[in-house]
């Protein structure tokens, strides 16, 4: 039991029903204190349901859950006091300014955040806190959500798609903030659809599909296993059969042998070496969406 309490998040056999529909089929999860844990899964897989059950916004129907050693159904306030949470679907009170809303949230936390810290976070995200929420763009509202989740320096940061709607520079800044929070001793548990973002910050990744954790893996290993699409143009026609022999390669299409579309699972080294034998005039790679990766890689796992 002590071992379970030492984890930042511990869940065993977590189940949740919405009416007759079972959203979680026994989620088992363990997130260690001080790590950044990526939580991945396609739409409708149960990511948000798991997260909301962990802070008792919804009541689990079965299984066990401990967040920072506390059962969220027994002491939800105790859990929320030590957690910074940002929902995936962020809706903010339109009647307030960003500053007013952050002040309200800080009051709900018993003024746990210092005004200087709130200002510093807002400045880093280039958020004008004087603006009414109703005048803010989607990205700026997202920034308000990020500030409120981080401002009190929580022990555990739970974020559902935190970089959604942010421009690439801001996405990078948010990921840097999460790394800094980890360095300061916080645990970060975040869900994402963007593989590269998870790879760049997470130490471990949990994959959820159809309400079950199908794998907990090292993000690099996951990245290597991910599918890549390649479009190769040749100055002379080539026989695609030669490329199809390379391990992990599937030929998707070929036009007169001068343009070939391939899909490769895992490392591309073998393909590059095989292509070196041909007169390549152009080479493009494209990484399929995480969604697609899930559909292809994990579709059999849950059958």
């Amino acid at each position: 039991m002590d071992e379970q309490r030492n984890a930042a998040i511990f869940a065993k056999g977590l189940t949740k029903f919405y009416g007759s529909f079972q959203a979680l089929h026994g989620v088992d999860l363990r997130v260690e204190r001080g790590e950044i844990f990526g939580f991945l899964g396609p739409n409708g897989s149960g990511k948000t349901t798991t997260i909301r059950a962990l802070i008792d916004l919804i009541h689990r129907d079965g299984g066990e859950a401990l967040v920072l050693g506390i059962d969220p159904q027994v002491d939800p306030v105790g859990v929320r006091r030590r957690v910074g949470y940002m929902p995936g679907e962020l809706h903010l009170d339109q009647a307030l300014t960003a500053e007013g809303l952050l002040r309200y949230f800080n009051d709900l936390r018993g003024k746990a955040a210092k005004p200087a810290d709130i200002r510093r976070l807002a400045e880093r995200l280039e958020l004008d806190v004087k603006q009414p929420i109703k005048n803010l763009s989607h990205g700026n509202k997202q920034k308000v959500g990020i500030v409120q989740a981080l401002m009190h320096k929580p022990e555990l940061i739970i974020m559902d798609e935190p970089t959604q709607g942010l421009d690439p520079l801001m996405q990078h800044e948010v990921l840097r903030m999460l790394k800094e929070a980890k360095t300061a001793g916080s645990t970060v548990f975040f869900s994402s659809h963007i593989m590269s973002e998870v790879e760049s910050v997470a130490q471990r990744v949990g994959i959820i599909r159809a309400g079950r954790i199908v794998e907990v893996a090292d993000p690099m290993a996951l990245g290597q296993r991910a599918l890549n699409r390649v479009r190769v143009r040749f100055s002379q026609p080539v026989d695609s059969a030669n490329l199809a022999k390379v391990k992990g390669v599937t030929v998707l299409s070929h036009e007169n042998g001068k343009e070939i579309r391939l899909q490769i699972e895992g490392e591309v080294d073998g393909l590059i070496k095989a292509l070196a034998k041909f007169p390549v005039s152009d080479f493009e790679t494209e990484r399929p969406s995480l969604e697609e990766t899930f559909l292809t890689y994990y579709q059999d796992t849950t059958k």
């Binding site: 919405y18 009416g19 007759s20 529909f21 959203a23 979680l24 739409n43 409708g44 897989s45 149960g46 990511k47 948000t48 349901t49 909301r52 802070i55 916004l57 919804i58 009541h59 939800p76 306030v77 105790g78 929320r80 006091r81 957690v83 949470y85 929902p87 995936g88 679907e89 962020l90 809706h91 903010l92 009170d93 009647a95 309200y104 949230f105 009051d107 709900l108 936390r109 018993g110 959500g145 409120q148 309400g211």
Partner: protein
């Protein structure tokens, strides 16, 4: 809880001020009418006497009133219909106390902060009560201010009685709206059902005075216990406490339902009407 109370009150101050000033002006206007109608009050009294009993039943439980007195005049011209207006406010406020923010998705993030569901519920309910009392106080002030410039002879202390009774009715209606918003799938549906109860109660109560077959329904009508006439005789504590008790019982049941249920985002965790179930059942 205090933070929630102060925030909710601050957020609803526009509505409270708007409804309160309307009631203030309405009170002053009605008292001013009393003066302008005083000269012809006797003729009006005779005119009302010629009206069908069925019509007058909606204005008076007893069917007998004196238009020439402050009590009789205000009972007919003010207190008989104001609960219909303020009842709408009470129902909207009650049904929207949590469900409005929940439907907008705003409640999710608020509830993720270190505040218990009880604290959130009680903070918001206290704000609702303060809002109702503020509007009634402004309505009361409107009449009292009006009498200062009128020939109406009225004891302000006695005037507290119909306002206290109206407060009890509003506690009942807001509690009903709140409870329905916790058990029905949508706030709009909760408001509609509570509104039907209010309007049906008003009409059935009036009809019960002229139709004996409705007598058995009358004890179950909340407006039956609203003391808008004969208030100089003092407050009917049994009626007052009855409305308050049932209203608070609704609130207690709503609190219990709020403890047990999930905070919804996009309808998850709610039950659905049979013909709408097809679209349900997607995890997030």
């Amino acid at each position: 809880m205090i933070t929630v109370f102060k925030h909710t009150l601050s957020r609803s101050r526009g509505g409270i001020i708007g409804w309160g000033i309307t009631m203030l002006l309405l009170g002053m206007l009605m008292v001013a009418f009393f003066d302008s109608m005083a000269e012809s009050a006797a003729q009006l009294q005779q005119l009302f006497a010629t009206y069908p009993r069925e019509f007058m039943a909606f204005f008076s439980n007893s069917g007998a009133f004196d238009f020439t007195t402050a009590e009789g005049f205000l009972s007919i011209e003010y207190f008989s219909f104001t609960p219909l207006i303020l009842g709408v406010f009470a129902i909207l406020t009650g049904s929207g106390m949590l469900a409005a923010d929940e439907e907008r998705g705003v409640l999710d993030l608020v509830a993720a902060h270190p505040i218990s569901r009880s604290g959130l519920f009680i903070g918001r309910y206290l704000s609702l009560l303060v809002g109702l009392i503020s509007i009634l106080v402004l309505g009361f002030a409107g009449i009292v201010i009006g009498t200062a410039y009128s020939t109406m002879d009225l004891d302000p202390v006695a005037l507290i009685v119909p306002f206290a009774s109206m407060f009890a009715l509003l506690v009942f209606l807001s509690g009903l709206g709140l409870l329905l918003s916790m058990v029905l799938p949508a706030r709009g549906m909760a408001g509609m059902v509570a509104g039907i109860v209010l309007v049906a109660s008003f009409f059935l109560n009036g009809l019960a005075h002229i139709n004996d077959s409705l007598a058995m329904v009358e004890p179950f009508l909340p407006t039956r216990y609203y003391q808008y006439e004969n208030w100089l005789a003092g407050l009917r504590w049994d009626w007052f406490m009855g409305l308050i008790t049932v209203g608070l019982a609704f609130v207690a049941l709503a609190w219990w339902a709020f403890q047990l249920r999930d905070i919804r985002v996009g309808g998850e965790g709610s039950w659905r009407l049979p013909w709408r179930r097809k679209s349900a059942g997607q995890a997030r």
